[in-house]
């Protein structure tokens, strides 16, 4: 896996789902939905608010257990009972709610669940954390994203601005994802500069051969990055389109229901 730039359409999807259903009381969040992610590609998922995009990626990443349907990773059926299991399989997710511990510091949040221990006896016997190292890496990752306004790396996450918080979450996923990276609206709260950096980061990750699922409402960004676009509507996959064959207007018309796609594309 070392293809650069363009997506490679192998026949076998790396992550896929069949016939997923998830109901919350009277609300049907996912309604018999299929889903496919090919190796090395950037797959954008677009759709109205409440269409069920977040629910879908939660179902494939173990954060929610679907009522019906199956999930496959590299062709093998998987049943994730918790996000930890998905992570152990190399699936890293930035949830829309960010999944941060508000009272803990930036570095603590970034390394949550995979803290770095000191070297030598302090680390192996006394299991002492190497706070300095974690802080340095955290600072570095944030600088990579252009988040230079964070004045104090030991600030609690709850005291960060909305965009800073999102930046921390994205940096975390980018740093640790190994097989699939899922980003649910990663640039929603970000400024122009920071958004740009995230887009660069996404391209960079793909160039390392790791496929990415990108949920976004920003059409220019989606059309700029995506290899394929999954259009979600009313809990279902409406169609998958190739951004080179359609315009942004078409995509928006599909997702809002103004226009019907002729056939399932791509």
């Amino acid at each position: 896996m070392d293809q650069k730039g363009v997506a490679v359409m192998s026949t076998e999807p790396i992550l896929s789902a069949r016939n997923l259903v998830k109901r919350y009381g009277r609300v049907t969040a996912i309604d018999h939905c299929d889903f496919e992610l090919m190796p090395g590609e950037i797959l954008a998922v677009i759709g109205d608010n409440g269409a069920g995009k977040s629910s879908l990626i939660k179902a494939v990443s173990g954060a929610v257990i679907p009522d019906e349907g199956e999930v496959f990773l590299e062709g093998k059926r998987v049943r994730f009972n918790s996000p930890i299991e998905a992570r152990e399989h190399g699936i890293e997710t930035v949830y829309q709610t960010l999944a941060m511990s508000p009272a803990l510091s930036i570095a603590d949040n970034m390394f949550m669940g995979r803290e770095i221990r000191m070297e030598g006896i302090l680390g192996s016997v006394f299991r002492r954390l190497d706070k300095k190292k974690m802080e340095e890496i955290a600072r570095q990752k944030l600088n990579d994203l252009g988040l230079m306004t964070i004045q104090n790396i030991n600030q609690a996450v709850e005291t960060l601005s909305g965009g800073q918080r999102q930046g921390v979450a994205v940096a975390r996923a980018a740093a640790f994802g190994s097989k699939v990276i899922i980003l649910d609206e990663p640039t929603a709260a970000l400024g122009v500069k920071e958004s740009r950096k995230v887009l660069e980061l996404i391209l960079d990750v793909r160039s390392r051969g790791i496929p990415i699922i990108l949920i976004s409402h920003n059409m220019p960004h989606v059309f700029e990055l995506a290899d394929r676009i999954h259009v979600h509507r009313l809990g279902k996959r409406l169609c998958v389109i190739d951004p080179k064959d359609y315009t942004m207007s078409d995509a928006v018309a599909f997702m809002t229901g103004a226009k019907e796609p002729e056939a399932v594309a791509a």
Partner: protein, 354 residues
């Protein structure tokens, strides 16, 4: 950037509401849905279950008017305190002083009547006022000084309890004296019969308090504000809720209801005694009822009906176990098991009902 078309204009969609089919499978789902919509019914289911089990084991001895109403009488004080406690817990607080306020108020009512010769009705009113006042102090410390409710009411508990002993000089007012000289103090203990059931005004008062609070919490702005403050005080304030006013009203109302519990206590015990165990164990009993009833200790979630049933569940277990012949120590142990069991069943019903 590639496609710089005016894509945003493509949104003039058919503006119709999203619709999915709501169909579910038959009666079981219907029941589950009902339970899910009104979670306070869940403790009721547990309660009915407990009553049925004991009725099967103990037969008519248990499942009779007098015994079932005896449960109501035994829980009336805890029930009223739990109603008061619910209010505070809904605001994400906790009130450790409920029992102490009840005892102190009853002492005030009694001593004002007998020590100073104040007419009983006025003494009762003064007792209610003192309870409200104590609540106001706690409320002020919680809301203005922003101290944790646990600490404020823990301190108040000790202060009120100590004041109670110091003021009363540990003297009990005997029931004979109350019956002869100030029957109004014992009013809440008066009983009337409905068929084979025995009901006291205290029990009626408990039910009334629950009904009124349930209405206020559900159907008035004040109730919505109580939930909002408990849910996320900061968000509520940003959204325009008067946090201070709401908290003050809650703590004062709690103090007032506790004082009513004090009056009910005089009716139930006949006498006025500063050393009633409610002062010490009333807190934990009321909190237990609240939590069994499904109100979250983190505030903002749950209903007062659940609390009422929660109090009855504990009362039913206690009486049922004693009648089944468990001795006091075994009863304690079994109640522990049953409390956990009751809440586990509750949780389970809620889960499948999703």
């Amino acid at each position: 950037m590639a496609n710089q078309d005016n894509y945003e204009s493509a949104v003039n969609a058919s503006d119709k509401q999203a619709e999915f089919d709501y169909e579910r499978k038959g009666i079981v789902h219907r029941i589950q849905h009902t339970l899910h919509m009104t979670p306070s019914l869940v403790p009721l289911v547990v309660l009915l279950g407990a009553i049925i089990v004991f009725a099967v084991i103990l037969g008519g001895r248990f499942f009779s008017g007098p015994t079932l109403t005896l449960i109501l009488q035994q829980v009336q004080i805890v029930g009223i305190l739990a109603a008061a406690q619910s209010l505070v817990i809904l605001t994400a607080g906790i009130d450790l002083s409920v029992g102490a306020i009840a005892v102190f108020s009853s002492v005030i009512m009694g001593q004002f009547t007998f020590r100073y010769g104040i007419p009983p009705a006025i003494a009762v009113a003064l007792g209610l006022a003192v309870g409200t006042g104590i609540g106001a102090m706690s409320g002020w410390l919680v809301s203005k000084v922003k101290l944790p409710p646990f600490i404020v009411t823990l301190g108040m508990w000790q202060i009120v309890l100590a004041a109670n002993y110091l003021y009363s000089r540990n003297e009990t007012i005997r029931s004979q004296d109350i019956r002869e000289q100030a029957p109004f103090l014992g009013f809440m203990g008066q009983r009337f019969e409905v068929g084979s059931a025995v009901v006291t005004f205290g029990v009626v008062t408990m039910v009334l308090i629950v009904v009124i609070l349930a209405y206020c919490l559900r159907s008035t702005s004040w109730g919505r504000h109580v939930y909002a403050v408990g849910d996320d005080a900061e968000a509520a304030e940003l959204a325009g809720v008067n946090r201070h006013g709401t908290l003050m009203s809650v703590y004062m109302l709690t103090g007032f209801i506790c004082a009513i519990a004090g009056w009910v206590m005089i009716g139930r015990l006949g006498s006025v005694s500063p050393s009633a165990s409610t002062g010490v164990v009333g807190n934990i009993q009321s909190i237990t009822a609240v939590v069994i009833g499904g109100i979250s200790l983190f505030g903002g979630r749950g209903s007062i009906w659940g609390v009422f049933f929660g109090a009855l569940i504990v009362g039913t277990f206690e009486l049922g176990l004693r009648m089944a012949g468990a001795n006091a120590q075994w009863t304690l142990l079994l109640i522990g098991v049953l409390i956990i069991g009751a809440v586990a069943v509750d949780q389970w019903i809620r889960k499948v009902s999703l």
